[in-house]
Subunit: 316 residues, 2 copies
Amino acid sequence: MSEVVLEDIRGAHARIRERIHFTPVLTSTRINELSGALLFFKCENFQKTGSFKARGAANAVFSLTDAEAARGVATHSSGNHAAALAWAAGLRGIPAFIAMPRTVSRVKLASVERLGGRVVFCDPTHKAREEAAEKIVRETGAAFIHPFDDPRVIAGQGTAALELLGDVLDLDVVVCPIGGGGLLAGTLIVAKALRPGIMVFAGEPEGAADASLSFSSGVRRPVEHPVSIADGLLAFVGDLTFPVIQRHADGIATVSDDAIAAAMRQIWDIMKIAVEPSGAVAYAAIAEGKVAVAGRRVGVILSGGNVEFGGPAVAK
Amino acid sequence: MSEVVLEDIRGAHARIRERIHFTPVLTSTRINELSGALLFFKCENFQKTGSFKARGAANAVFSLTDAEAARGVATHSSGNHAAALAWAAGLRGIPAFIAMPRTVSRVKLASVERLGGRVVFCDPTHKAREEAAEKIVRETGAAFIHPFDDPRVIAGQGTAALELLGDVLDLDVVVCPIGGGGLLAGTLIVAKALRPGIMVFAGEPEGAADASLSFSSGVRRPVEHPVSIADGLLAFVGDLTFPVIQRHADGIATVSDDAIAAAMRQIWDIMKIAVEPSGAVAYAAIAEGKVAVAGRRVGVILSGGNVEFGGPAVAK
């Protein structure tokens, strides 16, 4: 499959549903009052390994034939995809080789190692990471699983929206974050197929607004040095994901790091749950009025919860 | 009713169930591995106003006759009971007068005021707070609703365990925190009536171990200057609650502030939810090995989630 369609996402869900959490959808009277809409929060912060990345990783790992799987899987990532792939490989009893920059934080390294990932250190550049992963693949025959630009991963990520639209009927709008675009592409494919009139928007950090720029110009345009507290959303929108986004998305709203931090804080204060900065970006776009939601029924994907206790510090 | 029995708690639940959240019970594979038991977390941090106190306050407010209710309710508290009573009174459309020390934090004051509570400031001593509340009652005829030593409040707090035991069959143990003892007394009455073989333990901060001391000596004994990061558990165990605890509890374990902070951190890191220090005390007692849970099915009441984002800072 090269172009992912609804049936691929249904197939992915059938493949992974016994392995992942069917995450809850939370609501809050007070947040509804603040936003003037009815918001339904899909809590992927409660997902296995703490983010939606477990969905795509599990779908990719369990799509492999036994012969392919026997040689393991590989990727380059220092974030949620690394932990998710290590976890999914562990479920299948195969090795996961993860190329990580030497500069990776102790916490992220510990998380991948705890899940059984075999970490290969490399220099902290995107090129060095890609080369390290390629070298692993050459030497081990492991299957490379890209963090987002892979049909199996896109189909897996789409299962979050599949659950959300099944749980909450009559949604008018869905909002999710965008980094490389795997979650947004999967969400678009599901939402537009199941409910043609639905609007789907993404939130993106101002400091890593390549998707917004690419979407408005019609051509993939990278940002030179992306920077944001939403460290899961710094990737450049993908070759496979961008065409889906270009065709189906209703808009990409950019939000400042301050708005992201304020959204994290509001979700913590009111809903009592931990979301990481990347996970708060969709709600930040709503809270900032960047997405028109007044009076509507809105699905919001809280994509992950891997943030260290006590931080990041947020001005009060 | 002076002695609270199971039927009072069932009656309380019938009275309040449409007004409160039937809170979820969460589990975590990793926390089960760490504790060597099967833990079922009753998430009162997701309760209305952010703590189980909404249950007792709602039961008390909706137990009043229309004539009584018309004059409002009053209490002294700077914490979760104050917010809960303001909220419950607001639901019934009656005033809630809250005596608070002048030194109360801006956040706690704002919370009570946002919920419509009428705050009366007093000096920051227990005596001054009691006198301020008495004065309000004399002047307004409001019904005084004690934070814990009131049968209506005890019955309301017991509804958390009533839901928990209905949701999770075959629990061997329940663990909850103890401050004044309203939650523990209500939990004991429910648990021992529904499931006579069950063990019920409480966790208490070392710096406010009056209940532990009283329980082991058989006589209510205050602690001179209680101090703990678990600021919801500093109250002296009550006249009404202590006899219930003395008769039915299987033990009270004390935990250090460091252990409480570590438990908060672990719940955040692994379960991605916010619990306040007082809300983490029951789990702290388990994590510290102070309560024997190995191989057992254990209900753990996470009593509240009202803790400011980013804090308290915890050593890593």
